[in-house]
Amino acid sequence: MSAFPKSESNWPFELLIPAVGFALAWVLPDQLGFLTQIATTAILVLALDLVTGYAGIVTLGHAAFFGLGAYAAGLFAIHLVSEPISGLFVGGLAGMLLAIPSGAIVLRARGLSLIMMTIAIAQIVLEIANKSRALTGGDDGLSGIELRPIFGAFAFDIFGQTGFVYSVAVLTLCMFVLRRVMRSPFGLTCEGIREDRMRMSAMGCNVKRHLTAAYALGGFFAGIAGALSAQTVQVVGLHSLSFSTSAEALVMLILGGTGRLWGALIGTLLFMFIHHIAAELDPFRWMFTIGGMLIAVVLIMPGGIVNSLDQIGARLGSKGVRHG
């Protein structure tokens, strides 16, 4: 038995997310803003896991879709409709609409050139947002995002309680959808392409088209994450499009374990908590803690936390079987 539920298991393990979320909120009632931020970041890392962990496209520019989704949802709320659920879809759609053409470009390359192109595209989007002050507020950020109550009933409050419950619910729903996608023909085909493109092509798979679709879906979920961030923080800054947002998401994913949805969640939770605590203890040298932790995980648990714990579990399990 695997220590972490693989996508094959039937149980609604998604429900662990609200369980853990509310337990954390009960322990840390004055940290709801931080916990909300974890939930939104977790969606971004899940989206990145779909692209990098499952489809094997290593990218350092996924913040482009996150940031664009955030700006799109922010602008949508300010200028058009301040209903939050439709805002999420607008964010997701914006991420996807950027991912389709940019995917068609970057997926022509592989390896290092591909990574470079993903960085370049994210930098271009960042620069456009920076220069379009009239629309985005430039480096002052986009503020004034006011939202109507969710379903007309749950108003966003200054303590962030509604925002927290809302973001946990959206994360749970995203996990629910992604777990199903990963056991579908689409998800399995992504894994096949990650392992051996040439073989997939020899079996009749249109590899380019499939990768573009996976990239688009990754853009969609990153856009939803961005929109959720815009709605709960009520400000969108240029940082949402920055290289460090992309890089941190990748670090969280590697920490937790690529190619496993639970890896994305656990990596995010761990990274953000350690970041939070280390920065509080020492605001100038927290990077050392994070760096040290990353090196330790890579050395001790190659493949990330979830995959390594699974291997240990499998070893113990098989020993148990052998002895009786």
Binding site: E8, F186, L188, T189, E191, R199, G204, N206
Partner: protein, 252 residues
């Protein structure tokens, strides 16, 4: 009846190096044709060109009378022109079942389906288990491929091609690297393939070649030296000198 596969005047040059020159042959429906030749003769290169992973410099490839020279590899595969690889290319971290499901899904063209639960897709799973039974792999169904012995991996390799319901099957040394004791399973599986399937296989083991082939093509330095029935080939002086070499001289 139109040939399953017809290769016409196929050339391939890498710069000044010619790896295929004026190759012409055809496979009728139900063919059992062996492609033999010394190392570096261009056998795998030929398969790469037929399946579309390598673009020939000149020449045409006809599949059931239709020119498919411009079709990409994936389209040829979906039409039933399938191959196996000399060096096993299976999906190691996935289970045997998932490997075959992957191939079935590609053939059906449902790879874009986002929400079908593969564990409950009864029609797919029935087909998968049919293939596993055919290849005597059913006992290993839920095991990860990287935990299998090499002989079994070769069977998975073959299963991936069969799941595509081939009309023309190109086997690149199906038993390469497998100990004799295990290769009999692979050979049995190949013997049981449908009689109307056209098979071209590369093989170095002459016992296997003479057991299975009804036709043999001898490729030397990128061109066809001679082709014919096993009897013609074994009696051909040139072939014996170039290919069978010292062994036959020693017997003489």
């Amino acid at each position: 009846m139109v040939d399953a596969l017809a290769i016409k005047n196929l050339d391939k040059q890498f710069g000044a190096l010619t790896v295929a020159s004026d190759i012409c042959f055809s496979l009728p429906v139900g063919a059992r044709t062996a492609l033999i030749g010394p190392n570096g003769a261009g056998k795998t290169t030929l398969i790469n060109m037929v399946t579309g992973s390598l673009k020939p410099t000149r020449g045409t490839i006809e599949y059931f009378g239709k020119d498919i020279s411009a079709e990409p590899q994936s389209a040829r595969a979906r039409a039933g022109l399938l191959r196996t690889f000399q060096v096993t290319r299976v999906f190691k971290p996935l289970t045997v079942v998932d490997n075959i499901r992957l191939a079935v899904v590609q053939r059906r063209g449902t790879a874009m389906n986002l929400f079908q639960d593969l564990r409950r897709a009864d029609d797919i799973n029935q087909e998968v288990f049919g293939i596993l039974t055919q290849l005597e792999l059913a006992d290993s169904a839920e095991r990860r491929v990287d935990s299998l012995a090499y002989g079994e991996r070769r069977l998975v390799e073959l299963a991936l091609a069969l799941a595509g319901r081939p009309k023309v099957l190109l086997l690149d040394e199906p038993a390469a690297g497998v100990p004799k004791s295990e290769s009999s399973v692979i050979m049995r599986a190949i013997e049981r393939l449908p009689p109307d399937l056209a098979i071209l296989f590369i093989e170095h083991d002459m016992d296997i070649v003479f057991r299975f082939a009804r036709n043999i093509i001898v490729l030397v330095a990128g061109s066809i030296l001679v082709s014919g029935t096993p009897r013609d080939i074994s009696e051909n002086k040139q072939v014996r000198e170039i290919y069978f070499g010292s062994r036959h001289h020693a017997v003489d």
